[in-house]
Subunit: 428 residues, 2 copies
């Protein structure tokens, strides 16, 4: 089986100035096309180490991806060392030279010697054009193994992998015939999920492999088939199996890999032609921010109020001061008035409201424990309001993120007609 290997070059990774997110992205992408990444190594900008590491990697792995260590401030150490490894000199690549020239002119920078040197590549390199930056991608071949050197800027690296590296790999090697598809579930623990779908799992055709991939935004489930003959019929079978799965966990099955709570909420609201307004207290704008993070939110999202004081809750949202005084700002009564207030001050069909203590210390004038959050969702058409309390921990960031997810998940459940929805009330 083909093996891939990743080497990242740069002192900035070793001293922790930047986190290497490139390797995970490449690992996932390569896993998709059936080339397992067997190791990832980060080393500094030093000739001996680069030479030694590339030599070993190129001997043991068919495909080696090198990222970083390029760019004018790096003194071209990576390029020079690769030229050494391939026992060649440097040449100026005319296409790259003109490309860098046009980029620097467009950006109003000086086309100086250091920028020009971006066009110098080892003679053994096949240049892969970097449409989004000045450092070119490069491919090298030795004994049938391929080494790719790419800039470390994530956006440029990704474009080069998809547009240049993978096509080259496909033309050099015969890849395994793989079909797979991933879907995402939300709001269900791994152990509960595996119990709930065990019958489905047992009845899967033997050539389909199921993988659980838990992550912060839900558990992904991947079905894969390897070395199969008829891709289309297998892809159809996977679709069929996932549609059976959807009926087993209708409220937890969000959709394909690109789905998230906000995309499925967007789909539901658009399908029903309904609008949303949000009133946040303890989540402080995080719900609104999450919803508007995707393009086109203005089609179904009218806006929000972050009411961080009782005065704003009363004056802008219309919560009665009696309610806050009698029941406190963190209470079922207050969160329900916030959700109803959201419908009153806007033309929305649905609203979400949150109020609570996300910690780490208690706000003045509240008596509840840190980690207590009330969430409400109001539905104009039925006149119903749903309110639930969740108990979180003491970590502010985590609490805000969890309350945001729970609030969005509650709205999603109600949009899907699951009025009996109960959030996870306790985190440990």
């Amino acid at each position: 089986m083909l093996k891939g290997e990743i080497i990242t070059i740069g002192d900035e990774i070793l001293i922790g100035q930047i986190v290497d997110t490139n390797s995970a992205w490449i690992g996932a992408r390569f896993s998709e096309i059936g080339i397992p990444v067997s190791r990832i190594t980060s080393i500094g900008d030093r000739r001996d180490e680069i030479l030694n590491e590339l030599e070993k990697a190129l001997s043991r792995s068919e495909i080696v991806i090198v990222t970083g260590g390029l760019g004018p401030t790096k003194d071209d150490i990576t390029k020079k060392t690769i030229a050494e490894l391939f026992k060649c000199g440097m040449r100026r690549d005319e296409d790259t030279f003109n490309h860098v020239k046009s980029i620097t002119e467009k950006r109003g920078f000086d086309f100086n010697v250091s920028n020009q040197s971006q066009a110098d590549v080892p003679e053994a390199a096949t240049v892969i054009k970097n449409h989004h930056g000045t450092a070119p991608g490069m491919m090298f071949e030795r004994d049938g193994h391929l080494l790719f050197s790419l800039p470390g800027v994530p956006f440029e690296m990704k474009e080069l992998i998809n547009g240049g590296v993978i096509p080259e790999i496909i033309s050099h090697f015969s890849l395994r015939n793989i079909v797979h598809k991933t879907i995402i579930t939300y709001g269900i623990a791994e152990s509960v999920l595996s119990e709930r779908i065990s019958g489905w799992e047992d009845s899967l055709p033997k050539y389909l492999h199921l993988a659980y991939l838990p992550g912060p935004s839900g558990i992904k489930l991947r079905l894969s088939a390897y070395d199969i003959e008829n891709k289309t019929s297998v892809a159809d079978e996977i679709e069929k199996q996932f549609s059976i799965l959807r009926d087993i966990i209708p409220f937890n099955f969000l959709g394909d890999e690109s789905s998230s709570l906000v995309t499925v909420i967007a789909d539901e609201l658009k399908k029903k032609n309904k609008k949303l307004f949000v009133v946040e207290s303890c989540t402080g704008g995080a719900i609104s921010q999450t919803i508007t993070d995707i393009c086109g939110a203005s089609e179904y999202f009218l806006g929000s109020v972050t009411s961080y004081t009782a005065d704003i809750k009363e004056k802008i949202v219309g919560v009665s001061d009696d309610t806050i005084e009698k029941y406190s700002a963190v209470s079922r009564e207050t969160v329900i008035e916030m959700a109803l207030g959201a419908l009153n001050i806007s033309k929305a069909d649905y609203s979400i409201a949150t109020t609570g203590n996300v910690g780490p210390t208690l706000d003045k004038g509240t008596s509840d424990e840190v980690g207590t959050v009330w969430i409400a969702v109001a539905e104009r058409e039925t006149g119903k309001t749903f309110a639930h309390r969740i108990c979180l921990g003491k970590l502010r960031h985590e609490n805000i993120a969890r309350a945001t997810s729970q609030a969005l998940f509650m709205l999603y459940a109600i949009l899907k007609g699951n009025h009996d929805f109960k959030p996870n009330t306790t985190y440990l």
Copy 2:
């Protein structure tokens, strides 16, 4: 000089299911105590590779940190392989056994065989107690070199490094005498910064080393002194130098490493006893979310409105429909009415307003280009309103993040009395 090395174990890293953030954190922490990390390697959960890699690492580096590969689902492959490496059997650690028992009881989990196995460690291990989880930290020694095996959960790993690993390193090796301090600057490009402070840099005492550490939230500047005798006097000298620097770039010098735009805004508002209200359109709640991300925000932050439609701008914020019709929603006139509206509907002393097109596609009814954002800050006391336009790119996430930072930086400048502040108007 002592060398450190990091090995992360786990197939989930190689297939890109999780990003390895641990290594960057350890790299930064070790850099602080004067132990450079020379390489980071990620390998899978396979005996041969683990054995081979640990053997090489332990031979070439005085300190080897291994993270991950523990936990009940890993079939104890890492622990068994380490036992092989140190040619010893396994033993049950009583303290760990009781600790895991008490944790599982508290969480209401079953104290089953797989949980119990967490207490099995190689005989050669010195156990480092993990107060926050079930997998213990372990230390091994060979020929004066130390190998630490730690769980991969970031929170547990960090506590173990600070509370166990670093004290052990200090007791085994004599570390270099290092003094350093890092400050953070904002809103100034590296090239401009280095020009502006070159006189200061040239006049630094020869034993102080200056490092530029650019990152997404500003450029950090670090002053370090190595192998010095009198730590206190050097620390005083560093303080003195940074206070000179603060006077050279008063509007860009935020403070020590823990500072950020929101912490310095919080400090200024609290010092002046002033309150803030925000009205966001294109930033969609991101400004509010960023401000409330730090504890105690309710002392100076009253709340916000996200007005994602003209109707909400008019009805809740009080922007006149004539203004929007005549000048469009993305205009100087509209953003100023939004900022003034913010002061009107709240008791705030300062307000921020944003409106623009963050893309990637244009909203209906607007004529401006994607990437155009208007930002305004209003000050009740002086009756002044400041408005600026910035031109961003086509990437939605980046545009929202940049508009948020620019808006906060503009408020900071005005709080500091820098009324001539001009934002970076163009990004390329």
